[in-house]
Symmetry: C2
Subunit: 249 residues, 2 copies
DNA sequence: CGCTCGGTTGAAAATCGTCAAATGGCGTGG
DNA sequence: CCACGCCATTTGACGATTTTCAACCGAGCG
């Protein structure tokens, strides 16, 4: 599906859709993980709309008031935090079922930009509804803590990657992670198209875009990958995973 | 207060103390930030004990069941996540008022080790009490979300540091951060003693210990620091802060 | 008083970043 | 429909930073 007519400013009007977690294929990857049917029904009332974001547009930006949490329904996002001196850090890539905006609870302000890397749809989970419902719905607050906890653990994994791995290991780890997440969503884990540029991968992994490109080329030469621009085919999953574990593996 | 007699295994018996958030000097840095007197009184019933941890001992380890959150009452900790291949990443240093264990909500299991870098005391906040109390105490669950959110933002800051800065900038940023936190706790921000080894700083910053040592020496030569082993005196705070912002500053 | 551990320093090697140029998709406009 | 131009990507050469290996120093502790 192509980019909608570039009248640009589409986003801020949330479109009413028949939104229902109960009938959503992503519910096992999203907020309702482990909920009973009754509990999911409660969520249906809370997730009040979907919103469409065109490629390149921001779902929210750093400094925006934190009015809602978002769950990716379809599409692909990056989040990036910008430092005072202008350099920006891609802190994560989000796909179907992932939540966006967890960093907003602190001071009711989003602390990073969330940019759609392809035309995307998100479910809007208003902060107020979340607060209200979680009073009478202990499983929801528990689940929210779990999701936030998982985000913290994930970030620690990225720190480990940034801190201890060499470029090729980083790129390998990135691909293994991406493949796993695609597989969990029913896509092929061995053949996919990257939604982000080399630059964005580099910013995420703490590498220059040229280094990322060279790593891809090297993995190609080693017969582990088939890379053609953004199209990736993993030829040797075990080999890739071995690289991830580091030379010590 | 010196290290307790090294009978080693002191920890697991929580000592009953007159524990009270309401009379704690750290409450403005800890869980009760922004709570009213009545709200803090509710916390008093929940924080049920203190626990003493000797230097070098673990408060908890990766894989331990997540039974409680901990708030540092005195002392100093590091948290480190260990990867499958044995390398470990220091994910943070915690001091008075900081919370430990936020990564445990996901699967009710601690996901990192928390090691005391000096003799320390923590307040024990049982998970069950937290769950129960937060049912009838909306401000508490809100606050917990805020704290977790802040942890996520903090981690993104570290990722930015690991990803985009060179060694000297990293070390400068580390020192500026530490100084600020010490100041917030009423200690001198310009003269302090490091509680961690060069190795631990290095693991945190994604550098080898030799590189950390060289950075300290260079900052010393530039007249910005006076470093003698673990004793640090910051001579030029602005200079240090300029380095943090990067060459672009 | 010697030993161990943490820290410092030096030199060589490896990795990664920087600069530069060439290639190739892709979308736009003719 | 094709040509053009822009942007992403690739690749090469060089240089800078950081790691690695090794030796040495010094403080704290038994």
């Amino acid at each position: 599906m192509p980019t909608p007519p570039s009248t640009a400013a589409t986003p801020n009007r949330p479109a009413r859709h028949p939104v229902a977690c109960s009938s959503c294929g992503l519910r096992e990857l999203c907020l309702p993980v482990g909920f009973s049917e009754e509990e999911i029904a409660l969520l249906d009332g809370m997730v009040f709309a979907r919103r469409t974001i065109a490629r390149g547009e921001a779902l929210f930006r750093r400094g925006d008031r934190f009015a809602a949490l978002f769950a990716v329904r379809s599409g692909f996002f990056k989040t990036c935090a910008t430092s005072e001196d202008g350099r920006d850090q891609v802190t994560g890539f989000q796909m179907g079922g992932d939540l966006l905006g967890l960093d907003g609870f602190d001071d009711e302000t989003h602390r990073c930009d969330a940019i759609a890397l392809e035309d995307s749809q998100v479910c809007v989970i208003p902060h107020a509804a979340l607060e209200e419902l979680s009073q009478t719905f202990p499983a929801l607050q528990r689940q929210l803590r779990r999701v936030m906890s998982r985000e913290i653990v994930r970030d620690h994994g990225v720190m480990m990657l940034l801190s201890g791995m060499r470029s090729e290991e980083r790129v390998a780890a990135f691909l293994v992670n991406l493949a796993g997440r695609l597989q969990a969503r029913g896509f092929s884990p061995s053949s996919f198209v990257l939604r982000m540029t080399r630059q964005e991968i580099g910013t995420y992994l703490g590498l220059q875009l040229e280094t990322v490109s060279r790593c891809f080329s090297r993995l190609h030469d080693e017969g582990i990958l088939d890379v053609r621009q953004r199209a990736v085919r993993i030829l040797d999953t075990d080999g890739l995973r071995r690289l991830t574990a580091g030379a010590a593996g």
